[in-house]
Symmetry: C2
Subunit: 138 residues, 2 copies
Amino acid sequence: MERIIELFKERNIRVTPQRVGVMQTLYPSQEHLTVEGIHAKVKPQFPNISLATVYTILELFKEKKLVREIRVRFDRSLYESRVDPHHHFHCTQCGQTYDVDIDLCPTLKKQRIDGHSINDFHGYFYGICRSCRKEKQC
Amino acid sequence: MERIIELFKERNIRVTPQRVGVMQTLYPSQEHLTVEGIHAKVKPQFPNISLATVYTILELFKEKKLVREIRVRFDRSLYESRVDPHHHFHCTQCGQTYDVDIDLCPTLKKQRIDGHSINDFHGYFYGICRSCRKEKQC
DNA sequence: AGCTTGCACAAGAATCATTATCATCTAAAA
DNA sequence: TTTTAGATGATAATGATTCTTGTGCAAGCT
């Protein structure tokens, strides 16, 4: 809570209860949440909060590098508060998303590829997750 | 044309003029097209073709591994006929998408990460493309 | 070449994520 | 406290994608 307000101030983000509430759903957990999911999580605390507000807040957080939007799923975005470089695995069976902490070696260090200047890189892995694989064996 | 019919037969895809038309917009070019774009391209040849039909056909092609859907842009999907492993660069300025033929080394060869079994991997790069960089310097 | 049959297509409606609008309200600087 | 730029909530709008259904056609079989 204190930490969140600190993060806002550092970035010149006006502190409002709704923004703190949204940030609390993502930080410091390492969950990946949909906008719907975030909305549902803050609803008990702010029964009137609008879905549009959640979208607006997330857009702001994204600009200020407080959260990252990931598009490992084709049908909707997920949000997470981990903003350091890492990648994602998406289970095509259960739909769960996992962090992937692998250094995709030399490429990441490059500033240029084919003359394009790289600002960001994101790797998406698809397959069957460990817990779905276990279930199958039963 | 002949090649496309061959590809269909190999995969037990019933040959229809619309399917051939859609495939011709993507093969053997290396363009990345939106569904709208594909629809616009086949329209002259099939003035009555429905957008829903294009979606259905692309879904089939994807299942049969004739095309790949890429989600380098968050707002809509792109389709391409290159199905061999490669990655994509998206220019955040002009919106253009480029192929990236880089081997993201050891990772790709792995079958497993953190116990998850990997079927597919896709790297997305974001930044300013070479032609946008040139323009800036003028 | 003419049946037959299951699948494909067109048209349009429906759905669902996301964005825009705007009137009201509030955080925080003076 | 007052002021005011900016934030929120309600709701409409947008735009991509999916669903539905009646009609039409590909291709295997006579």
